[in-house]
């Protein structure tokens, strides 16, 4: 019983992730950074595909560079060499 609970907990955690991803996708689409269309997957099933829009690309570049800045700043703080 205890073992079962443990596995289901970990499984639940994993599941929540998928859920979050889907919600995030919907939000990103809502902001206009993604566009979606229904298509066929490689094994010929219907699936929804998400694609980065031009605005999304711009946002991504911006966010990525900001992320890099933060990483570098944190790296400097913890004493790594600026390589």
């Amino acid at each position: 019983m205890a073992r079962f609970k443990k596995t289901s907990d970990s499984e639940m955690l994993q599941g929540t992730l998928d859920m979050l991803i889907l919600k995030t996708l919907v939000r990103l689409e809502d902001r206009g950074w993604l566009s979606s269309f229904w298509g066929a997957s490689e094994n010929n099933r219907k699936a929804k595909f998400y694609k980065l829009t031009a605005g999304g690309k711009r946002q991504l570049t911006q966010e990525t560079s900001r992320w890099r800045q933060i990483v570098r700043a944190i790296g400097l703080v913890i004493g790594e060499d600026e390589a």
Binding site: M12, G15, D18, D30, N43, R45
Partner: protein
Amino acid sequence: MSVRRFFFRKRSDEDLRREIEEHIELERYLNLERGLNEKEAARHALIKFGSRQRVREDIWRMNSATFFEKLLRDFSYAVRTLLRSPGFTALAVMTLALGIGANTAIFTVINGVLLRPLPYSNPSQIVHLEQTATRVGPDRIGFSVQEVQDYRQQSRSFSDLAEYHSMTFTLLGAKVPERVVTGVVSANYFRVLGVNPVLGRLIIQSDETMSAPPVLMLSYAYWVREFGADPKILGRPFTMNDRVHIVVGVLPPLPEFPDANDVYMPTTSCPFRSSQGMIANRDARVLTVLGRLKPGVTLTEAQADLNTIGNRLALSYPRSYPTAAGLAMKITPLQQELTHAARPTLLMLLGAAGLVLLLACANLANLALSRQLRRSRETAIRLASGATTWDIFRQLMVESITVALAGGVLGLGIAMTTLRVLVAYAARMTPLATDIHLDGHVLIFGFIVALVTGVLFGSIPGFIASRSRLSLLAGSGERTAGSEGGTRTRNLLVAVQVAFSFVLLVGAGLMMRSLYNLLSVDPGFKTTEVLSMNLPLNWTRYSDLKTQNTFFQQVLELAQQIPGARSVALSSIVPLNNTDGGMNGGVTPATGRSPAFDTRLLPCPRHLNAFRPNLYRVRHDRLRSRRHSQCADGATLLASSRPNRPAHLHGRRQDVDHRSRRRQQCASVRHQPRLQRRRLLSAGAGHLHGRPFASHSRPRRAHAPRKPDRRHHSSNRSAAADHRHPHPRSTTQRATGYSARYIDPPWNLCRCGALHHHRRCHRDPGPQRHPPH
């Protein structure tokens, strides 16, 4: 984007559901490929995804406006609850509808009269100039041509001054001869007002010369009424005063200010205004003057400027500006001039209506409160099942606002139906009342009033309800509601409400009382059974006093013979006429014994003939027996007060009587504010100034508007006939009307009507046509 999301959320939810299903299906398929059995594959796919419902709910919430949805739900709940108690609902809606309707109707009038900008360009710069003989009486005495010229040349505060007066002429050239109210204006008049014609052109400077061909401008109302808005009216000739006038333009719809004129002509076309005697006579004060202030000039500066000029003129022409008269200048902004009579009454009415609405609110709050106390069990259940205090409060608010809005809609209907009565009432006080209608502002006002009302009467029950305790559920709701604490609250509320209602009731009652007082001032004479008729003459035919007097004498004699007429009288000015002065002037004895007056100001006695002895008898039944026998000279009858102090006839009857008795020996007695004009008469330039009984016979009241002088300088006179049964009124009326035409058809288009009917009619009833013979 988000609005679109809100409306398409059902579709996007469906899309999401399909996506999730496909996703899980794919996962299950992959699991199968990984070698899991059917059941495990499905289970793992579901577990991996997590809660499908949760995702959909989250996204649904993301796509909704929760507050409005709750509001909508509250609304539909409120409608259901209200329909369940139709008695309360009907009572509440009706009460509020009456309150809101009254407020909206009065606001509609206020909106049309006080708030809407005047249809002139930069109306705040336009001012009305007036001159009064302050030591003689409150009546305005107007300006003479000479004065207008002086002020125009010497003033520095005005970009221009325009003159105006109104006369009634006969217009030939339409289907039938017609009496038209004609505004005689200087060429710059419409430029000073800042209006543009809807058709043709305005009167221009070159029209205002004696050699120029006479021109006419039609008022919009007259153009539509008589010519069906025919654009081919331009260039059409009409004969007035034996000259051919060409129509050059049509004015836009304007307030009936200074008068409800049918046509306008330049000063040079008016035989009265263009006569040499009139132009040369500084004392012929008959004109109304409007001015446009220069940009940046304040009223005080303009007033000071005018006072300076006035003092200068008084020094140069001491004969025309006697110290005893105390002539003074005053300027009034046009907006104020047009609305000053209506403003206090309208605001007072709005105040009264507001108080009545507040009273309705207080009553309904009490009603809703007791209803809420009965429903406290329901509230407790809702609180117990998870509703927040705010939810309860909001729900009750929505309920009261729903009632108030329903009342508001009904109130708008009430306002629309009662508006006509109110407009007719307002029309007695301001010329702006002709253009009053419901518009967007009024709708917004009605909506806001309804909303505020709803909040006012819903907040107390809402507040009480949101503080309900769950312990109510423990026992019977009724018993708990009647517990000590609840009873105290309710008692307190009832006490407060009764006190509030009482104050409001007293306030509203007092307001109604003052309104009643304002409306019921006794004019001092009876106007029932008196018929009156205005007699405008053809100015060119009756150019001198002798022919005029002969004509009037004939009319009088003919009218006297009409069966049913008991007595007949003539006058040049109607006593207590609110627009032409209320005969509130002072009196100067002929012998000049009174030191305050200059004997030079005495009238020419023959003009007093206009005040035929009978006039007084006809109009003043109550005094007749005492007075009539004493009066050899009709003017004595009209002498009304102490030398320096104007008096209303009302309330001073004894006084008047006494005085006239004392002055019996005086050769003649004059009516001071008219004095300047009377002099004009002796100069032979003009004639008596009359205002038709028919159109403006309303006696002056305490709140009577000081409308700008509407002087009809045509040789109009009014005849009054005392009509007695058993002869039917209509027969007498018709006979009186025909008596003038009998002498001189078809010129004398006159209208005979009951005096007491005309009292209610502020506007000139308009020309009445008689078919030509």
